[in-house]
């Protein structure tokens, strides 16, 4: 659901990542107002770790700006929480929209060995 002045149109991140992998995230925030506004973005992992830390940009009306960040995938599923703020004429920041995206931790495949044999032996 869009905010009054801004809308998080998407949170780009993989649905699944292996523990230890770097997960790149891009949060697209559109300006829904009739003039340029100063937008701030915050990305938080499981409400604990802030990996997009108050990035800001002036965004023209109708345009979408992408704010980028990354984190190291832990050993369990996580939820990305993205927030958009706009700067009001009074200079304060106001929370306007939010969106979440889940990232599953990839299950490590089990090693599988078949057809084990002596492939060859010869005088070297």
């Amino acid at each position: 659901m869009a905010g009054t002045y801004t809308e998080i149109v998407e949170v780009q991140a993989p649905d699944e990542a292996a523990a230890g992998d770097t997960v790149n995230v891009a949060v697209g925030i559109a300006n829904r107002w009739s003039s340029a506004i100063h937008i701030y973005c915050v990305g938080v992992l499981d409400s604990e770790s802030r990996f997009i830390n108050w990035q800001d940009a002036w965004v023209n009306p109708g345009e979408t700006h992408y704010f980028n960040g990354s984190f190291v995938m832990p050993g369990s599923d996580v939820t990305i929480n993205a927030y958009s703020y706009f700067e009001g004429s009074d200079g304060y920041l106001y929370l306007d929209d939010s969106k979440t995206k889940a990232v599953r931790v990839a299950t490590a495949p089990t090693p599988s060995i078949t057809n084990f044999r002596i492939a060859d032996y010869a005088k070297a």
Binding site: A108, P109, T110, P111, S112, I113, T114, N115, F116, R117, I118, A119, D120, Y121, A122, K123, A124
Partner: protein
């Protein structure tokens, strides 16, 4: 006249299948065996050696002291990357008591990650010593361990495979056969 044969079979009990993991003893020979739930092992000289891992050799390689023998293991693999897989290559004597290792190599190797089956190989080169025995004709390889662990241990490896009578050792010892009087004639 018809004679009747009487047999006393004693108490007959159904064979236990499947076998439970544990030690078993052949009452006739005293030979000890171990079953881990998947594989039988024979116990000899303090070592457990898997039964049924030796195979007839597809070819025979003739070697003399000083020659080098390259043995290559291979398998199909899917899964994560594995580092430092432990392996043991051996040349030796295979007989009733299992495999007596005479030459041993213990290299480690890495396996790449793959979601589809890939062929993995690894090799070790033996140098045949001057004291080689003419009965050092069998070879085997086994693997275990690594990170992450593929399972098994040196005594109970994850994979093991061998060839019996794969080598012909020549020039190692004086070897006279078929000694006969080839002929005797008036001259």
């Amino acid at each position: 006249m018809v004679k009747t044969l009487t047999l006393n079979l004693g108490t007959v009990r159904a064979m236990q299948t499947p076998y439970q993991p544990g030690w078993y003893v052949n009452p006739s020979t005293g030979q000890r065996y171990y079953y881990d739930g998947k594989q039988w092992y024979i116990y000899a000289a303090g070592l457990l050696t898997a039964l049924g891992y030796m195979n007839p050799a597809p070819k025979q390689v003739t070697l003399s002291p000083g020659d080098r023998l390259q043995v290559t293991l291979g398998f199909q693999y899917t899964g994560p990357a594995i580092s430092q897989v432990l392996s043991r290559y051996a040349v030796g004597v295979y007989g009733a008591l299992g495999f007596s290792e005479m030459l041993v190599g213990t290299p480690t190797f890495n396996v790449p990650a793959s979601n589809t089956p890939i062929a993995v190989t690894n090799s070790y080169v033996f140098t045949i010593p001057t004291g080689v025995g003419s009965n050092w004709t069998s070879i085997y390889v086994k693997i275990w361990g690594g990170t992450p662990d593929i399972g098994g241990s040196e005594q109970s490896p994850a994979q093991i495979f061998g060839y019996q009578d794969a080598l012909i050792i020549v020039g190692a010892q004086v070897n006279i056969t078929n000694f006969t009087i080839a002929d005797f004639v008036k001259v």
